[in-house]
């Protein structure tokens, strides 16, 4: 083998495989425990009602969804919590119905102590492509540390997977020497 010994290559492979498993495990764990979602849907960026937009995705003008407004600490289905800008969102909330939308009354409106949703999503365009735009993700503010965590994790995963692959090819005896850029063959 051209570079390091096979034993060194095996140690490198095992070490970086373990690092990869740890990094991927951290991401999966934060997904499974709901920690990731709670970082994303952290605070309200505007005044409105915190909702779980997935709960009323199938509502239509003919069959509207009615959300019960209350001081819930966790949203279970068709529920909504009044929030102001900067307020911490309740658990399971993944979007805000802004006050302006309710006042306009086109997509959703206040009916007594309930919110009536008739247009839960609409088609939008980005970079020349159409996509389904819903209340999900609207008006939410992510925890700034989640952004740093994302970048650190993605670099750590890249590093560990990259060195793991290098260790694997070295251990298998595949020769990847430096290219001689300025010599002919």
């Amino acid at each position: 083998m051209a570079g390091p010994s096979k034993l060194r290559a095996r140690i490198k492979f095992v070490f970086w495989t373990a690092m990869s498993v740890i990094c991927v495990g951290i991401v999966v764990r934060s997904h499974v425990t709901g920690q990731m979602a709670s970082w994303y849907y952290y605070t309200a960026a505007l005044d409105g009602y915190a909702v779980n937009a997935k709960a009323f995705m199938h509502a239509t003008a003919e069959s509207p969804a009615f959300l019960e407004i209350g001081p819930f600490s966790r949203l279970d289905g068709l529920q909504a919590v009044r929030v102001g800008k900067g307020d911490r969102l309740p658990a399971n909330a993944n979007g805000i119905i802004p006050v302006e939308v309710l006042e306009a009354g086109k997509r959703a409106s206040l009916v007594g102590d309930q919110i009536r949703v008739t247009i839960p999503w609409q088609m939008q365009e980005a970079k020349g492509f159409k996509y389904k735009d819903s209340f999900m993700h609207k008006g939410i503010q992510t925890n700034p540390w989640a952004a740093v965590w994302n970048v650190v994790m993605v670099i750590a995963i890249g590093l560990s997977l990259g060195f793991m692959a290098e260790g694997l090819t070295d251990a298998l005896g595949m020769r990847f020497e430096k290219i001689s850029h300025f010599q002919g063959h």
Binding site: A126, F129, I155, F176, Q183
Partner: protein, 358 residues
């Protein structure tokens, strides 16, 4: 199907892994992030537009690290060149983003964006294609005359002009064997970064030709060096998108798992070919991306009423990924056959390395 709680959609895991794999092969080979291919694919899978860009940018940062590690092993990175460009690239990206915001306030960002994309990509395609064809012909002649062929051959006179600019400090890039004013490198970083920031892409498809034709680096070193830039610009983009909440890390994880394998294949494939082969693939990717952007521009200009234009744009983008992957893999296969003395098409020998040892 897998439910992504952050993105709020159900999407097929296998397709995400496959997109990561294909764009990893292409990115590792020509030194691009592949944002212009991945974002439309994610939108097709149901991810909202803003989230598609965020997921794409974050996966590009991770994939960039994987590719960089392999290109480092192959000696394709000039660290002096890469680190000198980083500051300029970051400044450029910020300028580009601010320019985009300005156009958004004028209400014409989409049209301006698409027209700029089309013009930049078409000009780059034209120049790269003409120059590479010239180099290919020259390599064919050398092959016929039995002259020893190098790993690299490029016929442009532009690098000589830029390397002769006598502005101190002068940099000596040992791996790339380039002596050039630091200001040229910084300016290349700023201009390519500004275009990347404005177009909302990583900018590899602009930076690789710039490193080859302006700085004078060999194509392999341009690819490896650009991937270092992509780690920085991708990481910065990932941070900005994450702060806006536009990133679903679970989707990123699936894409990186495919991209890891793809990036290895793409990076290792560069050791089988000469510089012009990489530039050919780059130019084809540019022309296909131009066609996609033209279709999207027509779609926007027709008031988004002709749905078939949008459909064709998506199909072209997805087809492009598959076409480029097959092209790269077939080049490697032909290189292997050529080394064993088996039959290969006439156009192949000047583009691939004849001997196993690089």
């Amino acid at each position: 199907m897998f439910t992504f709680p952050i993105a709020g959609i159900d999407a097929p895991i296998l397709l995400l892994v496959l997109v990561g794999l294909t764009v990893g092969i292409v990115g590792g080979f020509i030194g691009v992030g592949g944002g212009y291919m991945v974002t439309p694919a994610l939108i097709v899978f149901g991810f909202p537009g803003y989230m598609a860009s965020g997921i794409d940018m974050t996966h590009i940062a991770g994939k960039g690290v994987v590719s960089t590690i392999r290109h480092r092993q192959l000696g394709n990175i000039d660290w002096t060149l890469a680190l000198s460009m980083v500051a300029g690239t970051m400044l450029g990206v910020e300028l580009g983003v601010r320019l985009l915001v300005y156009f958004k306030t004028l209400g014409i960002s989409t049209v301006v964006l698409l027209i700029t994309s089309v013009v930049v990509m078409f000009v780059l395609f034209l120049y790269t294609q003409i120059e590479t064809r010239r180099a290919h012909i020259k390599l064919k002649e050398m092959s016929r005359d039995g002259v020893e062929m190098g790993r690299e051959l490029q016929t442009s006179n532009l690098p000589r002009f830029f390397q002769n600019i006598p502005l101190a400090p002068i940099m000596r890039c040992r791996t790339a064997r380039v002596v050039v004013s630091m200001w040229v490198v910084v300016a290349v970083g700023v201009v390519t970064g500004a275009l990347a920031g404005f177009l909302g892409v990583g900018g590899g498809f602009i930076r690789v030709p710039a490193l080859v034709y302006l700085v004078g680096a060999s194509t392999h070193i341009a690819v490896g060096t650009d991937l270092v830039e992509i780690v920085f610009s991708g990481g910065y983009g990932a941070l900005r998108h994450s702060m806006e909440g536009h990133v679903d890390m679970v989707a990123v994880l699936f894409m990186i798992s495919g991209a890891m394998l793809g990036a290895q294949l793409g990076s290792i494939a560069t050791s089988f070919v000469r510089g012009p082969a990489i530039r050919y693939i780059l130019s084809y990717s540019l022309v296909l991306a131009t066609c996609g952007a033209v279709l999207r521009l027509l779609y926007v200009l027709t008031g988004q009423s002709v749905e078939i234009l949008s459909l064709f744009a998506v199909m072209l983008t997805l087809g492009e990924m598959i076409f480029l992957c097959l092209f790269i893999l077939s080049l490697v296969m032909f290189a292997q056959r050529h080394r064993k003395g088996k039959w290969v098409p006439d156009w192949v020998p000047p583009l691939v390395m004849a001997q196993k040892r690089s």
